[in-house]
Amino acid sequence: MSVLEISDLHVSVETDQGTKQILRGVDLTINEGEIHAIMGPNGSGKSTLAYTIAGHPKYHVEGGSVKLDGEEVLTMSVDERARAGLFLAMQYPVEIPGVTVSNFLRTAKTALDGEAPAIRGWIKDVRESMTRLRMDPTFAERNVNEGFSGGEKKRNEILQLELLKPKFAVLDETDSGLDVDALKIVSEGVNRAKENTGLGLLLITHYTRILRYIRPDFVHVFVAGRVAEQGGHELADRLEDEGYDRFLAGAPLS
């Protein structure tokens, strides 16, 4: 059974005003097949956690570790982490001019598997996933995220989640900017991916809305760079009623 273990993670970024401490000792363990929701106010460091797990060069690890099945992830390059089984669905997916979705997906699949996928089965898989995510087939020949609407970009992230089959996925505000129909489609995609592959999920969100469609096993409240409280689904309900105010009182201002 796979496990992703984050211990005492401290992370900073360089800003114009100097080094800024963002993560201040994050502890979190996610087992295969579990869904963990991370909820927190804007600026609390949720994306920083996501990017640090994925290995974005802007974020400096000051201390702590991230282990995947006992192996240190923090020393791996970005692509090695992906090949080890980690996936990040980005809050703001990047446009790649001149690279089509189908070329991108095939290149990524080949890199992850170490060999090109059998062509017929792959094309069928791509087509079926796109259909289920209500993506027009023409998207396959469009450049990655170029001219996509916010919702289309998020669907494209979930398409990749379904096709690339990671062990653990971090979804960074995949729900934000989606109307309720798109939210349902995207949530179904995430649930399907979990059913099919049994992956573990770290679901980062600002709102409780998506938790109606993707039911978390654990909820962590993230404030000022660390987990301030954790519990089960009932904690999400409480946040929906009370908001984050209770946690913000006395928290260091970033």
Partner: protein, 422 residues
């Protein structure tokens, strides 16, 4: 009469690493031209002549030479040139003739005249001109290939004439060694639809200076593509005269400069009739020490060209330290009655976010870089409109990329200028 307006933006990007000795490589980024008290020279006022004796000695300070390594070009600018005819490969095609014609042929000089001395030296020195004549309304492909010009300093002249309503894709293939200064004329008849692709896939030692002159007929479409991948010093300067109502010019360029290569293009579009349209789009990649590119884009919208619609852009992608890209768009507008006119120029490093995104999907760094560069350049390739050529160029770009030295994540360096008026 409306007041002419002119904009000139110069952008020079040096990518010398901060610890490199300054003396090692060229000048620092600088700006010159329009804003420094010297008025922008009106392009239409530039001197032109077919006689080399009408041009004074070249100093390297002239506007047409200031970015070019003139010290290495004396033999083409001033020297004696071999003007004899050479081997040309052209598979026979219906409705297309290719022949050598004497200097006195009436077509010669109908599309333009030299504006600098190397061009004039070629004009004064060629014995016979290669004449390509296109008729027939069916789409067809014409290939004119040169690969054995050799190292002797040479002059050449080509006239390509497209009859009214004719259609063709003309591919000018250049390979092997060369030491060449030449002029190519394009006379595009009314309502013709012609695409010309000039492919510079020269050997590493080739030196090539070319001036292309086009005159575009009424309602004709002229697509001109410059692809420069091989050669030591290669300068191709296309100039298009939209002399008749409704003429449409699309000028595309793609270049990839490796270590030590100087690749230059000076593009000129002269809007001289109502309702003419032009689009200029050049993209270049630079990799390796002293990889050097120059792009100058002049667009003139004359008083005689109300309803003009024009846009030009140049984008450069810098892959390593030690390169230099100059990008200079100039826009001169003599009439207030235009549909649109604008320019953009940008030179920048890799977008690290694109790289991160691809790597986060498991794609190794080198392959991710190749995907991004290929993606950057492919826009031009796709606009050429020939599947066969697209395939060929995709392979050639791949080869260029494989030469790529390992690049570690360099600090971002990007700047852009945009300008528009309408």
């Amino acid at each position: 009469m409306t007041t002419p307006i002119a904009t000139n933006t110069t952008q020079s990007i040096d990518t010398v690493s901060p610890d490199a000795a300054p003396a090692q490589h060229g000048a620092k980024a600088h700006t010159d031209g329009g804003w420094s008290g010297v008025p922008v020279q009106t392009r239409s006022a530039r001197f032109a002549s077919a006689d080399v004796a009408d041009f004074g000695p070249v100093t390297g300070r002239e506007i047409v030479w200031k970015y070019t390594p003139v010290a290495r070009l004396g033999h083409l600018i001033d020297g004696d040139l071999d003007g004899s005819s050479y081997d040309v490969g052209f598979p026979a095609v219906d409705d297309v003739s290719v022949e050598w014609v004497p200097r006195t042929d009436s077509r010669i000089g109908s599309a333009g005249l030299p504006e600098e001395r190397a061009s004039a030296n070629a004009w004064s020195s060629f014995d016979e001109a290669l004449a390509v004549t296109i008729t027939g309304e069916d789409e067809k492909q014409v290939v004119v290939a040169r690969s054995s010009l050799g190292e002797t300093a040479r002059a050449a002249h080509t006239v390509i004439t497209a009859a009214p309503f004719s259609r063709a894709l003309v591919i000018l293939e250049n390979a092997g060694s060369a030491n060449l200064t030449e002029n190519i004329e394009f006379v595009i008849g009314d309502s013709a639809d012609i695409t010309v692709v000039s492919l510079q896939e020269w050997a590493d030692d080739a030196i090539h200076l070319a001036s292309h002159f086009a005159v575009v007929g009424r309602d004709a479409r002229f697509k001109h593509v410059v692809v420069t991948l091989g050669g030591d010093i290669v300068r191709v300067n296309p100039s298009v005269h939209l002399a008749n109502e409704g003429g449409d010019a699309e000028l595309l360029g793609l270049y990839f400069a490796d270590s030590g290569q100087h690749l230059e293009q000076q593009v000129y579009v002269d809007h001289d009739a109502p309702h003419t349209k032009s689009r200029v789009n050049y993209k270049g990649a630079l990799q390796g020490v002293k990889a050097r590119t120059v792009w100058i884009g002049d667009v003139l919208i004359r008083h005689s060209a109300p309803g003009t619609d024009s846009y030009e852009q140049n984008r450069n992608l810098v892959l390593t330290e030690g390169t230099r890209a100059d990008s200079v768009p100039n826009l001169e507008i003599e009439t207030g009655d235009i549909l649109g006119a604008g320019h953009a120029s940008a030179t920048g490093r890799f977008d690290d976010e694109q790289l991160f995104y691809l790597q986060a999907r498991g794609i190794p760094e080198q392959e991710a870089r190749r995907l991004v560069v290929r993606g950057f350049l492919i826009e031009i390739v796709q606009k050429i409109g020939s599947a066969e050529l697209q395939e060929h160029l995709a392979v050639r770009i791949e080869e260029e990329l494989l030469r790529s030295a390992t690049v570690s994540g360099a600090a971002p360096l990007a700047s852009a200028t945009e300008g528009a008026s309408a």
